[in-house]
């Protein structure tokens, strides 16, 4: 009744839910960042089950690798601990549940998972055409490559422009010279504070 594929996807989704609960609860940012990387990796596993192998290895390399490194870098330049505050207000919970309920109501009109008759699969100019003609028109057996580099080549060009712009933005924000956070911000780490306090009291007495 329940196929192996559904079973695997169900287990992976359960992992994702548990990881997300962990991220919401944890106050240690370093642990939350590592869990985010794990979230991307589990999602990449689910992508393999859903036949999206190209997306899976991009997600594993970029989402779970580079993105985690960026987060770790940002955490090391700031504080690794989130303050105990944060408003777990009823308004936020009600808003999120209402939005989720509306979205779930919207899915009832969507084609069933795996349906071969859904508009996305049967549209004559999109997926179907790529599957039937990309071998003659472009060449590579991997259709994702053909669509990425040929049919939607301008899309990919736009993507590289975005990455270039983001690189310039990051460089202009942080500057090319690397600085150590300790040099500029004295009260960086909690364990740095006691000696300073002693100095202050010395000065007072």
């Amino acid at each position: 009744m329940i196929s192996m594929e559904h079973l695997i996807i169900g287990v992976l989704l359960a992992f994702l839910v548990v990881i997300t609960i962990g991220i919401i609860v944890l106050r240690d940012l370093m642990a939350a960042v590592i869990l985010t990387g794990l979230y991307s990796l589990v999602a990449a596993g689910a992508f393999v089950v859903m036949d999206a192998v190209d997306v899976a290895f991009t997600e594993a390399a970029v989402g779970s690798g580079i993105s985690t490194i960026l987060f770790l870098g940002a955490v090391s330049f700031t504080r690794a601990e989130q303050k105990p505050r944060g408003n777990d207000s009823w308004l936020a919970i009600v808003f999120v549940i209402a939005t989720g309920a509306l979205l779930i109501y919207g899915t009832l009109d969507m084609p069933r998972y795996g349906s071969a008759e859904s508009p996305a699969q049967t549209h004559p100019q999109l997926g179907k055409r790529f599957l039937e003609q990309s071998a003659d028109e472009v060449g590579p057996p991997n259709i994702v490559t053909s669509v990425l580099a040929s049919y939607r080549g301008y899309d990919t060009l736009g993507e590289t422009v975005v990455v270039f712009a983001a690189g310039i933005a990051v460089m202009s924000l942080l500057g090319l010279k690397r600085r150590r956070p300790e040099e500029e911000i004295p009260e960086h780490a909690p364990e740095d504070q006691p000696p300073e306090l002693e100095q202050d009291t010395d000065r007072l007495t």
């Binding site: 992508f47 969507m110 599957l131 924000l173």
Partner: protein, 122 residues
């Protein structure tokens, strides 16, 4: 039962999305907000990929057997682009948080607001 099997994928993904949105709304820490945003993002990738899946299909890499069913390659291409663009925007947001920390000494939203209010009083 058939309805649940056809839709549970979407439902769990929407729950994950809303969890990301909740982190984004309710946490004051800017890096924690970015983590929530990236969970939201990955959930949307999941939604797109599950739309492209065809039952009994295989990865869209052509082989010689004409009877093979392939999954839809178009969502895969769109999400490949989205992953890379998502990382680029995350990098900019994190760079902004580091700059904010250098200027204010904190990345907690309420403390930044209090510091800004103090400046206006002066």
């Amino acid at each position: 039962m058939a309805t649940v099997l056809g839709f549970y994928n979407y439902w769990v993904v929407i729950v994950l999305m809303m969890a990301g949105l909740y982190i984004l709304i309710s946490r004051y820490n800017l890096i924690k907000k970015m983590i929530g945003l990236s969970i939201f993002q990955t959930s949307i990738f999941y939604l797109y990929i599950s739309i492209g899946k065809v039952e009994n299909g295989t990865a869209p890499i052509l082989n010689d057997d004409p009877a093979t069913i392939y999954s839809n390659p178009l969502p895969h291409v769109l999400i490949l682009t989205a992953i890379v663009v998502g990382v680029a925007t995350t990098a900019v947001a994190l760079a902004l948080s580091v700059r904010i920390y250098e200027n204010y000494g904190t990345i907690e939203e309420d403390e930044i607001r209090a510091l800004n209010a103090g400046e206006h009083e002066l």
